[in-house]
């Protein structure tokens, strides 16, 4: 299975809103904590290492590093 980069979220605006809401009123550090947990939870759900690596590669390429 390859990483799905086609639209896959039924209601994009609502998803985006809830992501932002998660971080409302959080300090930088608190947000980092939330994000770290989110990444771990979602990564475990995906499980497939090849898919995860593909996602990491895209994320790192776009970091402008």
């Amino acid at each position: 299975m390859a990483l799905n980069t086609k639209p896959n979220i039924a209601d994009p605006d609502r998803f985006y809103q809830s992501l932002i809401d998660c971080h409302r009123d959080l300090s930088e550090d608190q947000s980092q904590r939330v994000n770290s947990k989110l990444i771990l939870l979602l990564s475990n759900h995906i499980g497939d290492e090849a898919v995860l690596k593909e996602a990491m590669a895209i994320a790192c390429a776009e970091s402008g590093a």
Partner: protein, 538 residues
């Protein structure tokens, strides 16, 4: 300090060659009488190779060093006749607990498989380990010549031998050796004398290592805390040793002052905070360490072989240093024996480096990963580490991500050039390059163990119908043939299970108890080819 152990002092005697001023050539010289040098002495002696061991000191390991020994090195020491004594004196444990603050977040059970002679792990102070090996050396008489207060100060490779200069209380003398094994530890002088690079990384952290004598009711388990209330923001490790001695490691951070931290007035309050005001204890030893992970790229340099910490250094999380060093020697001894006897070419000695550099790299990787978890290198990795710990209590998925040290397991030589690849399918773990699993057996109406039937020579183990021959000599290399059901019984069926033994299944096993090849039928020609491959004679 020091309540429980008296350090032996081994007598220095001037060697005849120094006294008489004659330069002698020895078959093998071992530099260093730490755990690895002593293992080398025993294995070489058992193989019939006389050894001279040079050590700059005259006692066993001083202070807080290795504690945990894993199953495979204990099996090797058992083969060398001193494993049982270590097990009897040591503390056997199998439960590990990981705490975050006050909460137990994760617990592992080493769950040793049933029906193995040797336990998964024991804890024992390094000085006992060395003392028992030194005593075992005496059983070999003149074959092991232990020379204390003998410091190697120079060393030079010649085409067919090595020249060394040794400094003793009586001055400097010269010796020669066909082969040298350098077991002179992480700061190896020999490595420097040969100008070899020792590459890797130092971790920007310090650890206070305390050995404490106390009567405590902690169980015989490994306890690891992240951010405990008694030592906030750092980690702590607790291990039980024998004689009521406990090992406690406090992570201190990079900014700490090692000299200051070692002072009893600094250490005792830390321990009281952990153990409670009322617990009575005495300090046995205190040191502050910075850890590093590094290794040589090649464990052979001419006629000098590197083993143990001289060849590879790891952080102690996961108890890997001595454990892996012992396996270096298991790999080297039989190869050197065959080459020395003219039965295998020099190329076999290169396979020592090939196989053990591979194992060391695997070991270093595990050790570095653990250290990165315990001492995160960036703010971001600290966030991930803390997220893992926060999730682990409630959510099972995060528990295997917690890394407080993965315990040492042997690295199979999966890709070794000495292996003969499988032609047919097998179930189980015994693929070529893997160390042999143990199993209970019965022989001459006595209970025994499979691993005690093999080793030091090549063996063929075959299941089912017996072949018409009971030994093989393959161009001068003898090979025992052991028929399961005839030479011994598979008393509990474990051997058949662990080796996927069917009628005809045949294994070729190396002298270091590793699988060289396996087939579904007994075929003399295939065995000969595989043995020749395993000795670089193809």
């Amino acid at each position: 300090m020091l309540q429980t152990y008296e350090y032996p002092e081994f007598p220095y005697t001037q060697s005849d060659e120094q006294k008489n001023g004659v330069v002698k050539r020895h078959p093998a010289i071992i530099i260093g009488a730490g755990p690895i040098g002593l293992t080398t002495a025993l294995d070489f002696a058992q193989q019939g190779i006389p050894v001279v061991v040079l050590d700059d000191n005259n006692t066993v390991s001083v202070g807080s060093r290795a504690v945990c020994y894993a199953k495979r090195p204990l099996e090797i020491w058992d083969r060398l006749g001193c494993g049982q004594r270590m097990i009897d004196k040591g503390v056997i444990w199998k439960i590990g607990k990981v705490f975050r603050q006050d909460d137990l977040v994760y617990q592992f059970d080493l769950l040793p498989e049933e029906d193995h002679k040797i336990p998964a792990f024991i804890n024992l102070q390094q000085y006992y380990l060395e003392e028992y090996m030194i005593e075992r050396c005496k059983d070999f008489g003149d074959r092991v010549d232990l020379r204390w207060k003998s410091k190697v100060i120079s060393l030079r490779n010649e085409a067919d031998h090595v020249v060394l200069q040794v400094e003793t209380p009586d001055g400097v003398y010269q010796v020669e050796a066909d082969y040298v094994v350098s077991c002179d530890g992480a700061n190896s002088d020999t490595r420097k004398m040969l100008g070899l690079d020792f590459e890797g990384q130092f971790f920007q952290d310090r650890f206070l290592i305390a050995d404490v004598v106390m009567k405590a009711d902690f169980p015989a388990e490994r306890w690891f805390w992240f951010d405990p209330p008694f030592h906030p923001n750092q980690s702590v490790l607790l291990h039980m040793q024998s004689d009521n001695v406990w090992r406690i490691d406090f992570q201190l951070g990079w900014d700490s002052d090692p000299e200051e931290e070692k002072k009893p007035e600094k250490v005792i309050p830390r321990l009281k905070a952990m153990l409670g005001e009322d617990t009575e204890f005495e300090l046995e030893w205190v040191s502050v360490y910075q850890f590093a992970c590094r290794q040589l790229n090649d464990f052979r340099c001419g006629r000098v072989f590197f083993a143990g910490d001289a060849a590879h250094q790891v952080s102690p999380f996961g108890a890997r240093g001595a454990n892996t060093g012992v396996q270096d020697i298991d790999n080297l001894a039989w190869k050197l024996k065959l080459v020395r006897d003219g039965k295998a070419p020099e190329a076999l000695l290169d396979s020592y480096s090939e196989e053990r550099v591979f194992a060391a790299a695997d070991n270093l990787k595990h050790s570095t990963q653990s250290t990165d978890f315990i001492t995160p290198k960036s703010k971001c990795s600290t966030f991930f580490r803390d997220a893992v710990l926060a999730l682990a209590k409630e959510h099972e998925f995060a528990r295997p991500l917690v890394n407080s040290g993965r315990l040492s397991m042997p690295t199979p030589y999966e890709k070794s050039s000495l292996n003969t690849p499988d032609e047919e399918a097998f179930a189980g773990k015994m693929q070529p390059g893997t160390n042999c699993a143990d199993a209970p057996i019965r022989k001459d109406n006595q209970e025994g163990w499979f691993l005690n039937q093999i080793g030091e020579r090549f063996s063929v183990v075959t299941f089912g119908d017996a072949p018409a021959i009971d030994t093989l000599d393959i161009d001068g290399i003898p090979c025992d043939i052991l028929v399961v059901g005839k030479d011994f019984e598979d008393s509990k069926g474990r051997l058949t299970e662990r080796y996927d033994g069917k009628n005809g299944t045949t294994y070729l096993i190396r002298p270091d108890q590793h699988v060289a090849a396996r087939w579904r039928s007994f075929d003399k020609d295939k065995i000969a080819t595989a043995l020749n491959r395993a000795t670089c004679r193809l």
